[in-house]
């Protein structure tokens, strides 16, 4: 219950500020306006359409990033030589902030879905890749030795020891990657979107509708939180065995 105390306090503060006129409606919409707009969007179906569009982009981009990160992460993690070739370039690319990508992507990929999904994928890729490489490097050699004493082939060692051992790291990376995917989605949807939560944001911005802006921000917060909670649940289910192990 304690976790709801702060949001509740903020909400009350917000309501008071707009009701008392400390903050004008054109600067910050009131809770009532935001809920009204939310209801309006839900009634016309636009809400689900926009949420659906954003969620689809996030998951498409995330899926691509996951696949790519696993491949590259495994290659780099498995071989120092490959690391020396690939990693420095990847680290440099990783340093570029999301909005800096927008003009480049616009130039190369235009304004369609491909461009947006690519942007999301770029954001999601790096946390997963970095975590996987760290996970592979950090696998306890002692466990691998056990596999060796049982005469496991290299393939069997990878499948039966390495993969389960790196799963916790991979999932943490995936969780962070999903959060990044949402962040990059905002940048992507500023890029000539015709639908999506980011579109609601820019529409509100361009037509001076603060209620739409706040609805968009609210939706981003909720979607981001749900994604994260979902991943944490998955983590608990798949890698609940972590924590204090006598190895």
């Amino acid at each position: 219950m304690a976790r709801f105390a702060l949001p509740l306090a903020l909400f009350v503060g917000w309501w008071l500020a707009t009701a008392r006129g400390w903050v004008k409606s054109y600067q910050f919409a009131s809770p009532r306006d935001v809920l009204a707009e939310l209801a309006n969007l839900a009634a016309t179906g636009a809400l689900w359409h926009d949420i659906g569009a954003s969620v689809a982009r996030v998951f498409a981009g995330f899926a691509i990033a996951l696949a790519l990160a696993i491949v590259l992460g495994a290659l780099v993690g498995g071989s120092r030589a490959v690391e020396r070739v690939l990693d420095p370039t990847l680290q440099a690319i990783r340093a570029v902030p999301s909005l800096a990508w927008v003009p480049l992507i616009l130039l190369w990929l235009g304004i369609g879905e491909t461009a947006k999904i690519t942007l999301v994928a770029i954001g999601a890729f790096f946390p997963i890749y970095v975590a996987l490489v760290a996970g592979i490097r950090g696998v306890d050699r002692k466990l691998v030795e056990v596999g060796t004493t049982f005469g496991l082939s290299r393939a069997a060692l990878i499948a039966r020891v390495l993969v389960p051992a790196t799963l916790p790291q991979l999932l943490v990376g995936a969780r962070i990657g999903l959060t990044q995917a949402w962040l990059f989605l905002v940048a992507a949807e500023l890029l000539a979107a015709t639908n999506g939560i980011g579109f609601l944001l820019t529409d509100g911005e361009q037509t001076t509708r603060t209620d739409e802006i706040l609805v968009a921000i609210l939706l981003f917060a909720v979607c981001g939180k749900l994604s994260e909670s979902g991943m944490r649940w998955l983590e608990r289910r798949l890698v609940g065995w972590t924590d204090t192990v006598p190895v």
């Binding site: 002692k142 466990l143 030795e145 004493t149 039966r160 065995w241 972590t242 192990v245 006598p246 190895v247």
Partner: protein
């Protein structure tokens, strides 16, 4: 047909020569304990036999399966006890042994637990059970009780003794504890020198008395210290 036969074992780490032409025989059903000062190479010897290190020269021949128990349990944290123990099982016959082996080490009641839920002693027993699933002819134990407290050590030592009697497997026990050697082994060896070689060898109940072993260890320790002093 001996359980293990080592001839002319030579192993170096860079400039440091650990063994230079070591010979060793372990007969079927025989248990030997190898003692020595820390760093003398006894673990290296065991790891060579286990296939974890490759010798530079010499031959190592073993008959049948070899089971290994390390100082740490090294259980796979993502598998429960049963699955950990069943990990090495390749055939239906081996899979059928899992329950029996769990009972042997006294972990039948804890088969569903995860490694993080086990005490140190229980985890080590699970590791032992895992090493037994393939019905090994030779059991390699590398300081298996080192991580346990005195009480657990005595318990587990007794358990291992019973298991060895029951399975009739040969064993090579590497330890720095004389009591372990006296409790579990038929033959006791002390490794010493650089490169290491067998400095003392005796049968328990005959030449390998506590005093004699300690003596051999003490000399080895003294020699080791002297060598380190002069090489500085």
């Amino acid at each position: 047909m001996s359980a293990a036969r080592i001839r002319g074992l030579r192993k170096a780490y860079g400039a440091h020569l650990v063994f230079d032409g070591l010979d060793l025989d372990v007969a079927r059903g025989e248990r030997i304990a190898i003692l020595g000062a820390s760093g003398c190479g006894k673990s290296t010897l065991l790891r060579c036999i286990a296939g974890l290190e490759r010798p530079d020269a010499g031959t190592i021949a073993t008959t049948g399966e070899v089971g290994v128990v390390f100082q740490e349990p090294r259980l796979f944290p993502w598998l429960d006890v049963r699955r950990n123990v069943a990990f090495p099982a390749r055939t239906a016959a081996e899979r059928a042994r899992v329950d029996g082996v769990l009972g042997l080490v006294g972990l039948a009641h804890a088969a569903q637990r995860l490694p993080k839920q086990l005490s140190g002693g229980m985890a080590q027993r699970a590791a032992l059970a895992r090493a037994l699933v393939r019905d090994p002819q030779l059991l390699l134990l590398d300081e298996p009780f080192a991580a346990l407290d005195a009480l657990r050590r005595i318990e587990l030592r007794a358990a291992v003794r019973e298991i060895l009697e029951f399975t009739r497997a040969s064993a090579i026990l590497v330890t720095h504890d004389v009591e372990d050697a006296l409790a579990l082994a038929d033959r006791v060896l002390v490794l010493a020198g650089a490169p290491a070689d067998i400095a003392f060898e005796g049968t328990v109940g005959d030449g390998a008395t506590r005093a004699a072993i300690l003596d051999a260890l003490g000399v080895a320790e003294y020699e080791g210290r002297a060598r380190r002093a002069t090489s500085r």
